[in-house]
Symmetry: C2
Subunit: 86 residues, 2 copies
């Protein structure tokens, strides 16, 4: 996927997930630095209905495979540092 | 949920998700610092079958609501710094 193109499409995601992938709602997961193939799978399942969520099934519906790949590449590309748990 | 108790239960999650919540497999999402209510929902749906995944449906099956709350509290408690995308 093309992260730069994904960033443009991510305008549609930012109300819930943030443009930096940091969730703005308790129901919405963080997406920053998320595993890219996992994001592709999640969006594809939301689009095709195998995974159910009222909002995501609607917003994912019009996405092409290419747009899904771009969005996944964008959110996966955001760098995250994990502080090892005590 | 009790993050300390969750850390003990997370031994069962670490092969795929890491004890620090950093994924070890392309199919497994990162869990570090993930939104706590989202994690509770995901695990509950995996346990109850509303969300389908061969591995997660099996490993979530025996979890009580309390164990789910503890696991969610543990992974949510891991601190993550997000570097704003360029």
């Amino acid at each position: 996927g093309d992260a730069k193109a994904g960033r443009k499409s991510a305008i549609a995601c930012q109300t819930c997930h943030g443009l930096d992938g940091v969730s703005k709602l308790p129901e919405a997961p963080n997406l920053s630095g998320q595993v890219e193939p996992y994001l592709v799978k999640a969006l594809t399942e939301y689009r095709d209905g195998g995974r159910r969520n009222e909002i995501m099934n609607v917003v994912a519906k019009p996405l092409s495979d290419g747009e899904i790949a771009d969005l996944a590449a964008y959110y996966a590309s955001i760098q995250v540092d994990v502080l090892p748990p005590g």
